[in-house]
């Protein structure tokens, strides 16, 4: 919980700074800094806390697990405010707002340890979005999807070789994985690694994310059982839900 609170505090700081008139570039740099410093915090915390804990937890703790996720929240130009009340894409914790995918990534980290990597695009997406309306983001994403675009990524994983397990999370965008996820899969060769997918959607589910991911990473072991929930259910998820999923798929065996 402490790790989550730290990350959330960082996010609030960033949002506040952004509101004070920073350019979007500075804001994304701050987000990146926040993620990195919280990662360091996590590693040292884990080292301290896990001395007396189960050998299993220690073995999995952060060393070889990557939790990568793409999210609308964090990749938008913030022209419109993120309205927690009407947006199905966020989880509100007190006064803090987390993107759905981020929330799910953190739950996974609670259970598995691991490093969280936020897939960020160089060019930001339109923030005008309402899940029930035709809008700027919808139009933009539709175009990207039709063109089979590969948006340039702004964040990179330096030590991909160190990871044996990759959790990959994304929302359903136009019946497909967001194009940024394709960019991510193009950039890294995940051969020999185990890939677990997690997803949120407006009801359409992960569609054919399994076959698409397997196709792009033919020498990786992609788990067929995708953790997929409707965006309205994300806020109710707990560590236990992730634990149940991981038990179901025999994670760690």
């Amino acid at each position: 919980m402490k790790k989550i609170k730290v990350l959330v505090l960082m996010l609030i700081l960033v949002t506040l700074l952004d509101g004070c008139g920073n350019t979007s570039n500075e804001a994304s740099e701050n987000t990146q800094a926040a993620t990195t410093s919280s990662k360091n915090e996590t590693a040292s915390e884990e080292a301290g806390l896990n001395e007396s804990e189960d050998q299993n937890t220690l073995e999995n703790a952060g060393s070889n697990v990557l939790i990568a996720y793409f999210s609308r929240i964090g990749n938008i130009d913030s022209e419109h405010e993120i309205d927690a009340v009407s947006s199905a894409s966020v989880v509100t914790q007190g006064e803090n707002i987390l993107g759905n995918m981020e929330y799910m990534a953190e739950l996974i980290r609670d259970v598995t340890g691991g490093d969280i990597h936020f897939i960020e695009t160089s060019k930001q997406y339109p923030s005008e979005y309402d899940s029930s309306d035709n809008n700027e983001l919808d139009v933009y994403v539709n175009k990207e999807n039709r063109e089979n675009a590969r948006p340039e990524l702004a964040t990179h994983v330096e030590n991909m070789d160190d990871y044996d397990v990759v959790f990959l999370g994304f929302p359903n965008w136009y019946g497909d994985m967001p194009m940024a996820v394709y960019s991510f899969l193009d950039e890294y060769d995940l051969s020999g690694k185990k890939i677990y997918l997690f997803n949120s959607s407006g009801g359409g589910g992960p569609r054919d994310a399994y076959s698409k991911t397997s196709g792009l990473e033919p020498d990786a072991e992609v788990e067929k059982n995708i953790f997929s929930v409707s965006h309205s259910q994300v806020a109710q998820l707990t560590d236990q839900d992730m634990q149940d999923w991981l038990s179901e798929i025999g994670y760690g065996n």
Binding site: N134, G175, G202, D208, A209
Partner: protein
């Protein structure tokens, strides 16, 4: 068998085979779905032309309960078909992508989902109402009438498939799509497309069976002595 009858039969048969294929959309391939949709629309127009007498006689004669029902169902199908076609064009990612539609996509999504599902249910019901005609096609093609035993076998077969269709209807919560309780269609991509296709065929059978019984009962009510 008359040429026109053969063409009618083939058109109806192809539409019956293609309809569940359209319903499984993403599983069958999104671009293929668009081409089949266009083809289906053309067959629909052809079906209307081949059955032009129905149009000619629309304002003539008495309207029994069953004829009224049939007319309402047909009107519903026509409306759904037109809205499905328009919304389909707006949503097109392949065939009509050049149109670069930027407006009204959310509305088109809702319209397409609702109208296609209603069309699915209504056309299946329509098929059931005209089951005797389908039977007639078969008998003309074979050159002999369907025997009593065969009729019973078919009846039992349809009943069993229909019950399975009811199970599928409940499992997939198809009414959610009909009444816009769900915004997006869910497909289980871990399943084989053909399996899901058969699921939709069984739902067609369900509504056809309902259509058959409803029209049969209504006819008997209108003509109690015969």
């Amino acid at each position: 068998m008359k040429k026109k009858s053969i063409i009618k039969m083939i058109v109806d048969l192809i539409m019956t085979i293609l309809l569940p294929l359209l319903m499984i959309q993403a599983l069958a391939g999104e671009e293929l779905h668009e081409w089949i949709g266009i083809f289906m629309f053309l067959l629909f127009i052809l079906h209307h032309l081949l059955n032009f007498n129905w149009h000619k006689n629309l304002l003539k004669g008495k309207y029994s309960v069953v004829r009224s029902l049939g007319t309402v169902v047909n009107a519903g199908i026509l409306l759904c078909m037109i809205l499905s076609a328009i919304s389909g064009i707006l949503l097109s990612q392949y065939v009509f992508a050049f149109l670069n539609v930027n407006q009204g996509i959310s509305f088109a999504r809702a319209a397409h989902m609702i109208c296609t599902h209603w069309m699915f249910v209504l056309t299946s019901f329509h098929l059931g109402m005209h089951l005797k005609i389908m039977k007639g096609y078969m008998e003309q093609a074979r050159g002999k009438k369907l025997g009593t035993v065969s009729s019973r076998v078919f009846a039992i077969l349809f009943a069993v498939i229909g019950v399975y269709g009811l199970k599928v209807f409940i499992d997939t919560k198809l009414w959610q799509y009909m009444f816009y309780q769900a915004q997006f269609m869910f497909y289980d991509f871990n399943r084989m497309a053909f399996g899901v296709y058969l699921d939709y065929v069984s739902m067609m059978v369900l509504f056809a069976v309902i259509g058959y019984f409803v029209s049969d009962r209504l006819k008997k009510i209108s003509m109690p002595k015969k």
